[in-house]
Amino acid sequence: MRYEAPESVQGAVALLAAANGDARVLAGGTDLLVQMRADVVEPELIVDIKRIRETRAVTQENGGWRIGAAVTGAELKEHAPLKQAWPGVVEAANLIGSTQVQGRATLGGNLCNGSPAADSVPALIAAGAVAKLAGPHGQRDLPVEDVMLGPRTLALRPGEFVVSFLLPPRPPRSADAYLRFIPRTEMDIAVVGAGVSIAVDGAGTITAARVSLGAVAPRVLLVAEAAQAIIGSRLDDAAQERLAAAARAACRPIDDKRGTTEFRVDVAGVLARRAALIAMDRARTR
């Protein structure tokens, strides 16, 4: 096994593109190293991207925020302006693991590990985040909802990796929120995750919304029907019910010991509604 830590995006792409056999990007390693120890993956090449400046920075860009793919949860937590603009994204990232795991875990790793239960992914999708990919044929942008195709399957082409995410500018009176359900309080894998981003007008009517659900389908879902169910409303009881129903209708979860299909579907409705209420509350006060 070979370990490389290039200092540029091009350097990383060159290594990844030239690799024969299994090559893996290493960010925090909280998924990759665990999988290697359990003999789930046995890469021949490991490309550590943490020395690449672009993957490690949080910067403002055209009124939005660009977050490097290898920025850790702990670093996001410390970033007050980002937290102010995208509280849902940051709270989702901060739910990953424990204090120890937070010091390593990254958004890029969370997405590219390819788990439908990844916590930060529904929040990124609800936020309308776009991933910047770099590969042998240059760079391209891909909405986060299009990066993951199914469990452990990504839309990345050979030699490509995620450099950063762009969160769009925040209109006034808009906010996001993320909630998850797990069988214990911490250190567990989501049974359901729900991210909601909302913008309201001066009268408190929802003008735009995005709703995303995790752990209820082979990939994290962007549920347009759920958003439609609340746009134009003030999130009154009826709109909440419509939202919950639309969220439930979109679910196609697995059935396992962590939660049966019916239970996950039920909780998805509850969480979508609660996340929307929190986002609404935040949006109104801005």
């Binding site: 359900f181 069988p183 214990r184 309080t185 250190m187 010991k257 019916e262 239970f263 039920d266």
Partner: protein
């Protein structure tokens, strides 16, 4: 026992919340645990285990594995001198008549559960040992199997053992149950189901063995029972004095290290290779291979008068032993004895059975069969109170056993049963009820009490011994075979010796857990070690004190009874003092021994015929009451414990810090049992062999546990202490279930009480 020191003098050391000598090292990660030891030239060992829950071994060829790089030896059943291991009643006693339980060290022609050991490999490195394990050529032919106790007992079920699938049954009956029900104002019926759980200690099974320069096979490991040196000797076919077990301070035992773990494998490999060998189970291996707590199905029918007084109990218990007997028959006995709780049961019948299946074996775990029953009898008690509109504290007080009353098994309560006071105090400790923090949240409270035997079954004739001796400088050495499993066992022994002999704690060193060099003290199980070895140390200390004071009295020209030993000196009533050093010099001159071996024999009795229904089974019991306040999310079923108070009558707290630690730890482990822990076994296959799937509570899942220590002065231990190791794990599951009904009206009857189960009980889940 006679208790001169406790009653005539104020205690100076006993009763103080003293920081244990092992505490700092553990927090600072300086403690050397069994897995931390290494020896030059040491081999690493690994066990090959069966992937099938029930199969015939058609082929077992080790040739290829033995030829792998670095491999020193590959052993199968054929290589084991005596391939049968006794697994019943470890410790000082080895004959329990009809309960004899054995298994094969390595599988012969058949495996009966997933994870059953098939071959043993030692190699230069762990990686080489593992690689060789994969090179062992085994072929299995799956056999018919059975995975539920109901199926196991059905006619025509595949037999797990030739003796049939019913491993043991106990029946007791007292009074006239039918007449009791006829008088009852209310009859409550319930069926409860409990799950497999794992001890889940931080420190997995581990040890190192070598042949010492004296030719003795020496095994240093993490164990609750150093007396397994005898079982190792039997398997190795060497005299018992040729095997020595040294126990280390444990990173948790909870019953999981009561049965043999790595010591037989290590002994075999050291014997076969002549080299030091190390074995440390991985977490996955530990979760796969260790015996679990018995799952139970408990059926209760309870009749009560309008006053709440219980007049009839009909109880039917069925437990899953998994593939081997281990301690199942005894676990079931504990259930039978405790089935009606710490309450009067004038008309009662208990039928208890335990069956073999092809599931993981089950054996000892903290609570030992007296735990599952709490979920049954305390759920019933709460339902009775609810049906009659009686306060939960009151209904328990109405029914509490009084001194002189009998348990269903006919054992007369000889000590005070403090349930009413404990219940009142635990309940009061919850304070003012929390207001629900959101409209979808409901808050409720629950109470649960229990009784737990401490000390061993009286017909096992339990005993313990301890040696105490002075060095010439007046420092003191205590030797006692008791393993310290983390409960402060060793440190409490020092406190007792310090109290009696007036030696400051920093002048005492204690050596524990060495089958060759410390007097045998029996197992650190059954909440017996403070009781038994505490008494042995107390006896040794008092007898040594008497020996020394005779000499001191002569020197000080006064009566020995008037002398006191405090702070390293002997004090006369007229304020004259004699230093320990001078006293010891005089003892040497006068040929008076400066050391003493104390042997304590517990009150013994003859086996009781349960079917005939009368007699003493356990020396005594510890009582407790726990109160929980929970909130239930009425949209998701999520349960959070907001407040928790746990009261136990410990007789006397030798070290209140250690007692509180046992109560808090037990309560948290019990909450894990109640709310999340679940070894999921599907068709004999364990699906939860990592901490990502086997969930135990984290610090974020439990509130502060308020430990309420009540000291009735009624126990059989030193200074009238009672055992407190196991009791606190009993009540939490029932306390939480009762609180959930209080909050929501839903009665949870199956453990663990997951959010999904609550959601279903609340009708939230649409099919």
């Amino acid at each position: 026992m006679a208790d001169a020191v406790a009653t005539t003098q104020e205690l100076r050391i006993v009763g103080q919340p003293i920081q244990r000598h092992d505490a700092r090292d553990k927090v600072a990660a300086a403690m050397a645990y069994a897995g931390d030891f290494a020896l030059p030239g040491m081999l690493h060992a690994f066990v090959l285990r069966s992937p099938y829950p029930s199969a015939r071994i058609v082929k077992l060829d080790t040739q290829r594995a033995a030829a792998m790089p670095g491999v020193a030896v590959v052993l199968t059943a054929r290589d084991v001198p005596k391939n049968t291991l006794s697994t019943d009643v470890p410790g000082q006693t080895t004959t329990v008549g009809p309960l004899r339980a054995t298994l094969h060290v390595l599988a012969e022609d058949r495996v009966r559960h997933q994870g059953e050991p098939v071959a043993l490999i030692a190699a230069e490195t762990l990686e080489q040992a593992r690689a060789a394990t994969e090179a062992v050529d085994v072929e299995y032919a799956p056999l018919p199997s059975v995975f539920t106790t109901a199926d196991a007992l059905a006619p025509g079920a595949p037999a797990v053992h030739e003796s049939g699938n019913l491993l043991a049954q106990w029946r007791i009956a007292r009074g006239d149950v039918a007449a009791g029900f006829a008088r009852a104002a209310v009859v409550v019926e319930g069926e409860y189901v409990t799950q497999f759980v794992d001890a889940a200690y931080l420190e997995p099974e581990s040890g190192v063995a070598w042949i010492d320069s004296d030719g003795v096979i020496t095994i240093r490991l993490s164990t609750q029972v150093i007396e397994h040196f005898r079982d190792v000797a039997e398997v190795l076919n060497v005299p018992q004095n040729r095997v020595r077990v040294i126990g280390t301070y444990l990173g948790g035992g909870f019953g999981g290290k009561e049965d043999v773990t790595v010591e037989v494998y290590l002994g075999l490999l050291a014997l076969k290779t002549g080299r030091p060998v190390k074995m440390v189970w991985t977490r996955q291996e530990s979760l796969l291979a260790r015996a679990k707590r018995h799952p139970y199905r408990l059926k209760y029918r309870t009749g009560a008068l309008a006053t709440g007084e219980i007049v009839a109990q009909e109880i039917d218990l069925l437990a899953d032993s998994g593939a081997y007997a281990y301690l199942s028959a005894l676990v079931l006995l504990y259930s039978t004895v405790t089935a009606a709780g710490p309450y009067r049961a004038p008309n009662v019948s208990v039928v208890a059975r335990v069956a073999y299946t092809n599931n993981p074996p089950t054996s000892a775990m903290r609570g030992f069969g007296a735990m599952q029953t709490v979920f049954g009898y305390e759920s019933q008690m709460d339902r009775v109170a609810r049906a009659l509109g009686i306060d939960p504290v009151r209904v328990r007080a109405v029914n509490t056993l009084r001194r002189g009353d009998s348990l269903p098994v006919g054992q007369v309560m000889e000590t005070h049963v403090a349930i009413p006071e404990l219940a009142r105090r635990a309940w009061a400790a919850l304070g003012t009820p929390a207001a629900p923090r959101a409209p979808h949240v409901k808050v409720g409270r629950g109470l649960a009490c229990n009784l737990q035997p401490y000390g061993r079954i009286v017909w096992l004739h339990d005993w313990s011994s301890a040696w105490i001796g002075f060095e010439m400088d007046g420092s003191l050495v205590v030797r006692c075979g008791a393993p310290d499993v983390g409960g402060g066992q060793a440190s409490s022994l020092c406190q007792i010796a310090s109290e009696v002999l007036g030696v400051p704690l920093d002048r005492i060193v204690v050596h524990v857990s060495d089958s060759a060099l410390t007097p045998l003290s029996g197992t650190t199980t059954a909440s017996r070690q403070l009781y038994m070895s505490g008494n042995a140390v107390l006896k040794a200390a008092r007898e040594l004190r008497a020996q020394l004071l005779t000499v001191a009295a002569r020197l000080l020209d006064t009566d020995a009874e008037k002398l006191e030993m405090i702070d390293g000196a002997v004090h006369a009533p007229d304020a004259r003092t004699l230093s320990l050093r001078s006293l010891l010099v005089e003892c040497a001159r006068a040929s008076v021994p400066r050391s003493h071996l104390g042997v304590y024999h517990a009150p013994a009795g003859e086996p009781v015929d349960l079917n005939a229904g009368a007699g003493k089974v356990f020396p005594d019991y510890t009582f407790g009451a726990h109160a929980a306040e929970v909130e239930v999310d009425t949209e998701t079923g999520e349960v959070r414990v907001l407040k928790y108070a746990a009261a136990h009558d410990v007789g006397r707290a030798i070290n209140p810090q250690s007692v509180e630690g046992q109560i808090q730890g037990g309560a948290v482990q019990g909450l894990g049992y109640g709310l999340m822990e679940d070894v999921v076994v599907e068709d004999g296959i364990n699906l939860t062999t990592s901490f990502a799937t086997y969930l135990i509570p984290t610090a974020a899942d439990v509130p502060d546990v308020e430990a309420i220590v009540v000291e009735s002065g009624e126990g059989l231990g030193p200074f009238n202490a009672r055992g407190i190791g196991e009791p606190p794990i009993g009540p939490p599951a029932a306390a939480v279930a009762n609180a959930i009904e209080d909050a929501t009206g839903a009665r949870m009857t199956r453990l663990p009480i997951t959010a999904e189960r609550v959601a279903r009980a609340l009708g939230l889940v649409t099919e």
